[in-house]
Symmetry: C2
Subunit: 426 residues, 2 copies
């Protein structure tokens, strides 16, 4: 499906083009197996297939053209970095490569082996010069969510200019004030890097664009409540992943176009899985593209994923920014407030997340939850005990998994998933 | 050396007395090997030997008596919890058990296996009812330093009432404000639990007591700059560990009495190690009592530890609280300011710590640094790369170690330490 020869662009970005070609081949093969092999997919997934096929090509070309036009590109690894501020300065927000077992050996020369796969991955991508997003962005914005990222950004800054904002870990009034002032500090940095002032009009536009994107994803999620479910969990995850790369306005319109098709499917009772398929909720750590390992295992064993309680999923999109702010300060207040509601496990205590998981189980008609944690991710692996207890009280079956990006544990994961699905069938 | 039968007290605290007897036997044997076997120890170490022999006995009895007199006991695992505030309310601050491989199996039923030994240890001590300090305290004060502790406190709260304060991870002005308001929130909690108002006079007294304790430790540290060094690193570590358990006024006077003896030793050129012994600095994670594994390995192989860049060491004691505050608010300002200077690896960036390590190497005349990190401790294991680079610039040899509380890796650690000492000899 590749449209053009991007080799000169990749060279100019300093990529290791040969290794990069190899990476694209491997990912293309995986995509064929995991995505294109699905039966009865919605037709309008073709747009998202196209985006993936061009994710290191056409989209990077767009970013480079935007930069030539004077726009700035801001990369991040976390949804605590508000896209609204970036859009307000006419910038472009992109997620950076962090979802594949790439450059791990190089990363482990800098980072401890006992670091989660996501962090090793972003470091590995940079050290092995395989992520055009990292190379194409003007600034990386980091955050003090978990210890691993907080400390890794310090080292990452040696390779790529990284600006870190502090995310508090408690939702006290002092924590809210800290966060509000960090939002302000980030806004000033974005203004500085982009040479553009962030105005109330710009922010309003940013809020509107990102809210529209979220509303489109809400619509998609609502359709997954139907039985039979009109779209696979894999595809829904893919769309959630693509939101971090694609142009937000185009993305929202394409999600809405897909939802029109899914509407028809729901009305005519067409699903990607039979009506008696086991409906599973996945909860836990974010799955950055192309991390499709666990969803593929779950769905190829006959279950269907109806929701993702994840940063790359409903945790990341459910709250809108209130659009009633008039001044810059008022709008920043609302942006700050909205982001602090994101119930990441780095917060303590974090009862909102436990409530949300149970609520999602009910609203999506799930019969069980697979808790997915990256190995060495303290926040999610420890909070798993609280999830277990909360779901236990509601008699909702739970499978707790810890994994990484390698393929080594796939057979073992598959055995555990199969056993869990057997329990759910009873 | 045991003076009394504490069994009834231990029973009343709900300890597993039989297992506790076994623990004390094991620790007593280890103490004999590691401490009492040392040659030419300062005589006034006898006080500290006595404290250790009574650490679960007489000291606990003192705490229980204080509680009967209406005083309250506050337990913590981190030196971001200001003892000054506790003393201001006539309370007692104690460190909680976290330094031994105890109850690990029980802890791993609640916490992920990939959790650092310190966290598993405090959980294990509680779950197996082996720490009289945890049982004797009225409130545990936790802090959001690292992810592991932050999230573990949530679960720990099910077993023991735990109040958590937020430690910021950046020293921005917003971070300082957050911390200042957390100090205020903690003060209010201490007032509530102890039923006593925290006054300026009380705070002044608290500041004075803790500063005196720190000054005594500064004096001890200064004496270790001499060659031959008058006291072993093991003994200095022990004293640093005991500061978290003993009455602070008594402790300071005993440290000063020991320093009088060390003064004489220095004047007459008496050391615990020959003048040509390799002088080593240990830097990294805190070593909570009875974690003496690595210092013992280093010193029994002929080197002498001249300083600890550690929370249980100079990182924890080097800064005093400015005593020029008049009002409660002013004194709390100074307390907050002082604690935020503690250069724990959870901060980003954390150049102060790198400077401090190099400065300690120079001022203690060390010829190399052993960087000690607990396995799975992201802040210290990742910051080790920055330490390596900073020391590399100054051509200071470094040995980076990751370990836990088990004895399994002792032979391997010993081999690595021996090889490092060989390099230092060249």
């Amino acid at each position: 499906m590749k449209m053009a020869d991007y080799t000169p662009m990749w060279h100019s970005l300093g990529l290791d083009v040969e290794a990069h070609d190899g990476l694209l081949r491997v990912l293309g093969d995986a995509y064929k197996d995991i995505y294109l092999s699905q039966e009865n997919r919605p037709e309008r997934m073709d747009y998202f297939d196209f985006v993936i096929s061009e994710i290191h090509g056409l989209r990077i070309q767009e970013l480079m053209e935007a930069r030539r036009d004077g726009r700035r590109v801001f990369g991040s690894f976390c949804l605590y970095v508000p896209e609204e501020l970036i859009l307000a300065a006419d910038g472009i927000s992109v997620g950076l490569c962090a979802g594949a077992d790439v450059g791990t050996e190089a990363a482990e020369k800098v980072l401890p082996r006992n670091t989660c796969a996501l962090i090793k991955s972003f470091f590995g991508f940079k050290l092995s010069a395989l992520c055009p997003y990292i190379e194409a962005c003007d600034l990386v914005v980091g955050e003090t969510t978990c210890d691993g990222k907080t400390k890794a950004y310090e080292l990452f800054n040696d390779y790529k200019s990284t600006f870190v904002i502090e995310v508090p870990h408690m939702r006290t009034s002092a924590g809210r004030q800290l966060w509000r002032s960090e939002i302000e500090r980030l806004a000033a940095k974005i203004e500085h890097v982009s040479g553009r002032e962030i105005t109330a009009d710009g922010l309003r536009k940013g809020v509107w664009i990102v809210n529209e994107k979220r509303r489109a994803l809400h619509r998609l999620n609502a359709l997954r409540r139907s039985n039979p479910v009109p779209i696979s969990g894999r595809d829904a995850l893919l769309i959630n992943q693509i939101q971090f790369y694609d142009d937000p306005v185009r993305f929202a319109s394409k999600v809405n176009a897909l939802c029109d098709e899914l509407d028809e499917r729901v009305q005519s009772g067409v699903g990607v899985a039979p009506a008696d398929a086991l409906r599973v909720l996945v909860s836990g750590c974010p799955m950055a593209a192309p991390n499709w390992k666990l969803p593929f295992i779950i769905e190829k064993n006959g279950a269907v994923i109806v929701g993702e309680e994840s940063c790359v999923g409903e945790r990341g999109t459910r709250h809108l920014v209130d659009d009633d702010g008039a001044t810059v300060a008022e709008i920043l207040d609302r942006v700050a407030e909205r982001y602090l509601r994101t119930d990441c496990a780095v917060f303590t205590p974090n009862p909102e997340r436990l409530d949300h998981i149970a609520e999602m189980v009910r609203s999506y008609g799930a019969v069980g939850v697979v808790h997915y944690a990256l190995q060495f991710c303290a926040p999610y692996t420890i909070e798993a005990a609280s999830v277990e207890r909360a779901l236990g009280h509601e008699r909702i079956p739970l499978l707790k998994l810890e994994t990484d990006y390698s393929a080594q544990d796939v057979p073992q994961l598959e055995t555990r998933v199969q056993a869990f699905l057997e329990i759910l069938k009873r």
